[in-house]
Homo-oligomer: 139 residues x 4
């Protein structure tokens, strides 16, 4: 089990805005990639989960931007599951660059479980167990 | 019939990059909105076309960037159908700002017709007729 | 003074994801457009504010997604200033569609004031006064 | 000299649209990342080029979409310089997935050289020489 995953991504021109730094809305795309890789590192492809009829839509997203990040910097996003119940999944993110001892941004996404008909459902027990295995309550 | 449609859009911070101007990849999102409004202005919602089982995927996209456009500028995108057959639909775009006599960018998208199974198909005659009504070969 | 602004935007294909609804990260771009128009409706262009050497970077962003929104729907984003001090500006958003009595999403962005050198600064008094004029503490 | 670079990227949810495949406009962001890595593989960071006062804005972009690509697929983008003069730089791209013998998309971007004042300029000889070293006229 890998309780944490570090997702690495080099910031593109497309991610920046005229302030010269990465646009705040883009972080949520990186968070998405980060949690997908956290799951894959633990043996589950999100794609196959959807094939089984369960998706994990975001019901809340938040980010605190402590320091801006620049074009061409490689960001490292530490990602872990902070809480899991049969109705909710809470994933947290901390974004670093090579130089930064402290996170330059941190945030979370809250997810529910949704079936193919687009309705919120209680998660199957084995899915909750799966997430529980690499649960990593930090704070 | 409205052979041309002028789609107006105010450039967001999110559209810009660190060069201080709109990112080239974003123009294709504006073109998409422009052609959707061209169809709607002629009585067809693209959404309802998809409900009928026909979608119009982009099989080629091109843009020439003559002059950059800035944050908070309102771009005006002149949009028209340049060619239509039972296998292809060609839509053209010219992007202006208030001050510009000549287009600051121009481009096209080429579309095919796709059924619900994701296969390219020949367009129904009434759809081709519909597009033919506001066809506007310019150049 | 317009204490609230309703920003309207029709959802593009580019805004959607394979779940068939608008991607959660895109909402923050719409919020950005909404707050820009709130300021403009009160006589200030954000662009001219930057020309004066003050920008308003996002230091925190949050959104709660209550119900998904679809391609081609027009979203209406009610936007207002919820709090203002010399170091912080808090803007809130509620997203509706035509049919929805209750918001389908709601969120906020927190901003600081930044000078041309990229440093957080205390806001000039007249700027705080300006924001105070259309402050609208709701909850 | 590495005349070609293969840029790899795993498609995110954010890249997809409600057709269930990657949105056509997103390819241009991947092309951007691909050409940046082509240059880096040959010893030049685009960022440092800009620090020297030369940027390479896109003056034309084109893509042919032969077959769609899916969420979670890894795309491989073969990138090479197809032509270089003192006023223009032409970069080509072919996009593959693991399974595909033939490219699923191919396109190009044409660039000019721009100085810090935002004016098109003739490229310094050493820059043209640099690009010439890994020029790879294919077709």
């Amino acid at each position: 089990m890998k309780k944490e995953f570090i997702y690495k991504y080099r910031i593109r021109y497309a991610d920046t805005d005229k302030m010269g730094v990465a646009y705040h809305g883009r972080y949520f795309e990186w968070f998405e990639a980060a949690r997908t890789e956290l799951m894959r590192a633990n043996g589950m492809s999100y794609d196959s989960l959807e094939d089984q009829g369960i998706s994990l839509p975001v019901i809340e997203a938040q980010c605190r931007y402590v320091q801006s990040v620049q074009y061409d910097e490689i960001v490292q996003i530490k990602t872990w599951i902070d809480d899991v119940t049969r109705s909710r999944l809470l994933i947290r993110y901390e974004l670093f660059t090579k130089e930064s001892g402290r996170p330059k941004a941190h945030g979370f996404t809250m997810h529910c479980y949704m079936n193919k008909q687009g309705r919120a459902v209680r998660a199957p027990h084995d899915l909750v167990e799966f997430f529980n295995k690499f649960l990593s309550k930090k704070k």
